[in-house]
């Protein structure tokens, strides 16, 4: 039975997780290629909130949240492919046009390289090297076997090595 105390605890726990993880989830959505990362992060928390009482424990909230973000990005990307649009870089308010151009150039090669990977390869690399998840956590997030996660990371790095040459080598 849910009491007022457990309800208050739930709200506190949800608010704390939102505070800690909203920006991270938004950036995760961005790195996964979504063009509306803010909306995806917000929607992910709404869905997490709806399932909060069904989670086996508070430690399950963050993995579940990551999974929602990944799944919503997958749906969004499917839509973007349909309407044939490539997500743009987000606006960088407060910096000069010159600085913005330099920033875009700096990130351009990585964005191009990530775009050359399969969606799953991109996901595992972002989860492994940006969120610092281990293979078991990646597997849990993507709903795949640990062995598959490990193999996909390996394949993704091999592919990245080909499509993202070191700038030193290209000069």
């Amino acid at each position: 039975m849910r009491t007022a105390a457990t309800e208050a605890g739930t709200q506190e726990g949800f608010a704390a997780l939102f505070d800690e993880s909203f920006e991270t989830m938004k950036r995760l959505a961005f790195l996964l290629g979504a063009d509306d990362p803010e909306n995806i992060a917000q929607e992910s928390f709404v869905r997490l909130h709806a399932r909060w009482h069904t989670l086996a424990g508070p430690d399950k909230a963050l993995p579940y949240l990551r999974r929602i973000v990944v799944n919503l990005c997958r749906t969004r990307l499917r839509h973007l492919r349909v309407v044939r649009r490539v997500p743009d870089d987000p606006p960088a308010p407060g910096i000069s046009a010159e600085a913005e151009v330099l920033t875009r150039l700096e990130h351009g090669s990585l964005r191009t390289a990530l775009a050359a990977l399969s969606e799953r390869q991109r996901r595992v690399l972002v989860l492994r090297y940006w969120l610092d998840l281990d293979h078991a956590e990646i597997a849990e997030t993507l709903g795949i076997a640990v062995g598959t996660a490990k193999a996909t990371v390996h394949q993704a790095l091999a592919r990245l090595r080909k499509v993202w040459p070191d700038e030193e080598d290209t000069r």
Partner: protein, 249 residues
Amino acid sequence: MTELERRLRTGLDSLAATVPPSENPWAEQQRRLAADRRPPHRLLLAGAAAAVVAGSLVLVPALVVSRPAAPPTPPPTTAPPSEVPWMRVIAGPFALGRYTAGPVTREVITFVKREPGAAGWINRLCVVSTYVGTAEPTSPDSFAAISPDCVLLPTEWPARQPPGLVQTHTILDGGVLGGGPLPGTLLFVTAPQVAKLEVCAGDGSPATVKELARTAELVLFQAQFATSYVGFCFTARDAAGTVLDSGIS
């Protein structure tokens, strides 16, 4: 860690840092959670209600809703004249499709009506089922009998954007997701600055979107899906192509 892994880590960190922090995202989350408490689905607002139309008489109850005072705006001259002095149809009626219930064929139509509220004019989106034929049967079918109400539309859209500039309305589904006589049809009401609406089905395929009406306060779109609207997503853009709002159900 290899050199490639180090570069990748640094590059992703740098790329992620380009995303500016949100301004008070918790307030937006609270707004969404409040909206989520309305069944059956967050994106699907209260199902567009049904009213049985007999002949040319539209049976619509006069509901009183509080909202900030707004000067009454005369309806467009193109709108059909209303038989009821306190109510005007400002958009439509538009035929959405037909369905058969037993021996009876009905046509589903939609329109937007304006009526006085407690402190100004309010707009409502109505979906009604009309009998096709000359002799109205004595007992309406299940879709036609769901509800005699219409859905209140915003007259002031949120200033902060995105999101919040798009509302979706199902067709006579009685609160059942994907139900109703026209499960492949969905209505969208957007803020007037929305110039283009893109809608996709759950499998990613594009839905056919038709702009039914545009007024100073809202735009009414009809989205037609191959089978069902369940799992749909949308993107609303302004005239310059900038994304104003988007969502995934």
